[in-house]
Symmetry: C2
C-alpha cells in the first residue's frame, strides 16, 4: 500500500490498557500492507508530574534541563508501545527524536524543526519493523542538545516525519472523532466534517479550534501531506485535511466549514490617538518590542470634530499586563488619551472558502447575532473568515445561532446556498 | 585542585529533598576548586516502577526496548539535579550516557563498556560547568542503540568516566559510611576501613560484600583510579580504595581487611566420579555450556578402595536448576553415581593481603569456627583469601566469631599480629 505515519496523543496511551489498544491499531495498519511509523506523546499525566517535580527542585528551571527532563516522558511511552507491539508478534523499534533525525533550532521549550533526516527510520521500516518515534522532541543543530517543540509538538513531529518520509498520509489519533463544524460541547448539533481544505483548517485553528494546531497544519500544507484526524477510541473515519478531497470524500467543499470561538483573548483600546501618519506604527512597534503577539486590529475613521481616533486590538489574556505596560511608556510620545483593558470578551469566527464566491454571508452572520440579541463590538475579516468580538457571556448563544443560521446543524437538510459571487 | 567524579545512587536522590542535598554537596566540591563531573542513578523506586509498567504491557519485554524504557529514569534525576545546582547559582549541564560518550557492546540489559569518548564532558567542565552524567547507560558501538550496563552499572559509569577524564578521584556516594570489616547488620562491632587495596576489595566484593561491585573495582584497578566510598548523608570520610594509601591514610595495611559472607549460593556435589583424567573437565564443560557461572570448586583425594571421588562446587542459587539439568545429561558419559543439591549453605571468607606473610591465619580462622561450634563443609583459598562453606544457619555466629578472633572488633586495641612468613 504505502507508508503511514500515525500519531497518538497522551490520552490514547494513558495506561497499560491504552498502550495495548494502540498497539492493536498499529498492527492493523501494518497487516493492511502498509509501512508504519508511529509518533507517540508521553503517557497521560506524565508531563505534568515531571513539571511538578521540577517545580519542587527549582522555581525557574533551566530551559535545557527542562527539555532533558520532559523528554523522559515519550521515552517511557514509546518503549512500552514497542514492547506491546512485539508482544502481538510484530517487530517494532523505538527511536528518540534525536535518533529519528528531528533537527531543531536551539530555542529550548519551543524549538522549531529545521530539518528531518529520517535515515534510521527509513531503514527500520524497510527491514520490516514498525518504527515508534518520540513526539515533541528533537536535537539542536548547533549544540546537539535535546530540545522540545512546545505545545502540540507531537503533531508537528508526525507531520514533519511524514513529509521527510514522503508518507501517503499522516493520521492524527485523538480523543474526539475529528474536526467539527463547531465545538460539540457548545453546539450539540455540530457535524463532523468529512473533508476540509488546509486553508479553512488554518483559519479554524487560528480562530480557537483546538483539534489541530496552526503550526502543524501549516507544515502539512507546505509539504502537501494529507492529515486524517480521527479517534483512537472509536475506529470511525474522521476528518481529512488536504489540498483536494480524495477517494470517497465529498467532491465539493461546503460554503462554510465551521464556526470557531475563542475566549482566551482580551481587548485593548487606545483612546484618543491623534489621527496622523506614524501614530499607529509607534503603538504597534511598542507592542512588538515587548514580544507580545496580537491578533485582531481595528481602527475606525476618526471623528472630524476632534481629529482623534481609537485603535483596538486583541491579544492573549496572559500577555495583557505586558502590553499595557509597554503602551503606558509610549503615552507621552504618541499623545493618546487613555487605555482600556477588557478581558470579558469572546471572539466568534465563521470560516469557509465558499464565502469568497457567495454574497450575503456577512449579512446572514450579523443577522443571526442580532436576532440572538448579541451586540458586536469589533469586526475583522480575511478572505475566508469573518470574526467578531462580543461579550464573553454571549459566546455560547452566538455560536449556536450562527451554526443554525448557516444550516450546519445535523438536522438541517443541507447547508444554505447563496447565488452570485462576492460577499 | 583537580577533576573529581562523584557518583550518587538512587537512595541519595530519592526525592526533591535528596536532590537538593546532593546539589549542595556537588557545589561544595566545585567551590573547593575542583572540576566536577557527577554520575547519577535513577531516583529511588523509579526503575522498579518502570519495570512494573513493562510487565503490565508485555510478559517478556524486548531487551532493546527495556533499555530504552529504563534509561528514562536517569534522564529524570540528572535533569532535576542540574536544575537544583543552577538554582544554587552554579552552571550545570546534564548529559545522557550516549552524549557522554559511553560506548558499549550490544548486549542489552547487561552491556559492557568498550570505550569512553568524553569530549562533550571535558568541554563542559572546561567551560566552568558542572557536568551531570546519566549512570547505568550507554550507546552500542555498532547499532547506536541505547544500552544499559546491568546491576551496579552507575558505579562502573563513574569509574570509566574517571579513567577517561584522567580524574584524580572517583567518589562513590552511598547510604553507608564506607567499607566495613564485616557487614554491620551482622557484626555490631564492625569497623569502617580507612584504606583498602584494590586486591583486597576485589576479594571482598567477590565474597559477598555489596558496597562495591567486583566489575567496578576491577575497572578502577586497571586504570589506577582511586575510589572514595562514602555516605551522601553523613559527610564523614569514607573508605579509600587504591593501589597505595594516600595523604593521611594509614601507611600500613591491616593483615586482615575483613570478613565477608554470602548466603546467595548453593552447593552441588557430584558423587562417585571415576578418578581418571578428563572426568572433571567433562563435568565443568557441561556446566559452562549451560552458561552457568560457578564459584568455589573442591575435589578431594579419592578413596583408594573404590577409585571414585566426589566433586563439589558452589553457584548462585538462581542457576541451580540449570546446572543440575546439564549434569544429569552427562551422567551416562561421566559415569558418576548421583547428584546432591544443597541451598542451605553460607560462604564465609577472610580477606587480607597480610595473610601471605603471616603464618597462623588459617589456623586461627578454623579455631574460631570450631570454638563457635560451626562445622566446615568445604574449604577453598586464594593467595589473599580463605573461604569456607558452613550451614546457612551458622552464618551470623561464624562471622562474629571470626571477626573477634582477628581483633577486628571496634573495642579491640589493635589487630592480632603474627610473626614469620607464610600462613
Amino acid at each position: 500500500m504505502g507508508l503511514v505515519v500515525q500519531k497518538y496523543g497522551g490520552s490514547s496511551v494513558a495506561d497499560a490498557e491504552g498502550i495495548k489498544r494502540v498497539a492493536k491499531r498499529v498492527v492493523e495498519a501494518k497487516k493492511n500492507g502498509n509501512q508504519v511509523v508511529v509518533v507517540v506523546s508521553a503517557m497521560g499525566d506524565t508531563t505534568d508530574e515531571l513539571i511538578d517535580l521540577a517545580q519542587e527542585v527549582s522555581p525557574i528551571p533551566s530551559g535545557r534541563e527542562f527539555d532533558m527532563l520532559l523528554t523522559a516522558g515519550e521515552r517511557i511511552s514509546m518503549a512500552l508501545l514497542a514492547m506491546a507491539i512485539k508482544n502481538l508478534g510484530h517487530e517494532a523499534q523505538s527511536f528518540t527524536g534525536s535518533q529519528a533525525g528531528v533537527i531543531t533550532d536551539s530555542v529550548h521549550n519551543k524549538a522549531r524543526i529545521i530539518d528531518v533526516t529520517p535515515g534510521r527510520i527509513q531503514t527500520s521500516v524497510d527491514e520490516g519493523n514498525i518504527a515508534i518515534v518520540a513526539g515533541f522532541q528533537g536535537v539542536s543543530q548547533d549544540k546537539k542538545d535535546i530540545t522540545t517543540l512546545g505545545r502540540g509538538g507531537s503533531d508537528t513531529t508526525a507531520v514533519a516525519l511524514a513529509a521527510a518520509l514522503n508518507a501517503d498520509v499522516c493520521e492524527i489519533y485523538t480523543d474526539v472523532d475529528g474536526v467539527f463544524t463547531a465545538d460539540p460541547r457548545v453546539v450539540k448539533k455540530a457535524r463532523k466534517i468529512d473533508w476540509i481544505s488546509f486553508e479553512d483548517m488554518l483559519e479554524l485553528a487560528s480562530s480557537g479550534s483546538k483539534v489541530l494546531l496552526h503550526r502543524c497544519v501549516e507544515y502539512a500544507r507546505r509539504y502537501n501531506i494529507p492529515i486524517h484526524v480521527r479517534s483512537s477510541f472509536s475506529g470511525l473515519k474522521g476528518t481529512w485535511v488536504s489540498n483536494e478531497p480524495q477517494g470517497d470524500q465529498p467532491m465539493e467543499q461546503a460554503i462554510i466549514s465551521g464556526v470557531a470561538h475563542d475566549t482566551s483573548e482580551a481587548k485593548v483600546t487606545v483612546v484618543g490617538v491623534p489621527d496622523k501618519p506614524g501614530e499607529a506604527a509607534r503603538i504597534f512597534r511598542a507592542i512588538a518590542d515587548s514580544e507580545v503577539n496580537i491578533d485582531m486590529v481595528v481602527q475606525n475613521v476618526s471623528a472630524a470634530s476632534t481629529g482623534l481616533t481609537d485603535i483596538s486590538f486583541t491579544l492573549p489574556k496572559a500577555e495583557g499586563r505586558k502590553a499595557v505596560a509597554a503602551l503606558e511608556k509610549t503615552r507621552a510620545a504618541v499623545g493618546f488619551d487613555s487605555l482600556r483593558y477588557d478581558d470579558q470578551i469572546a471572539k466568534i469566527s465563521l470560516v469557509g472558502a465558499g464565502m469568497k464566491t457567495n454574497p450575503g454571508v456577512t449579512a446572514t452572520f450579523f443577522e443571526a447575532l442580532s436576532n440572538a440579541g448579541v451586540n458586536i463590538e469589533l469586526i475583522s475579516t480575511s478572505e475566508i473568515r469573518i470574526s467578531v468580538v462580543t461579550r464573553a457571556d454571549d459566546v455560547n448563544e452566538s455560536v449556536r445561532a450562527v451554526h443554525t443560521a448557516f444550516g450546519l446543524d445535523t438536522d438541517s437538510d443541507e447547508a444554505v446556498v447563496y447565488g452570485g459571487t462576492g460577499r
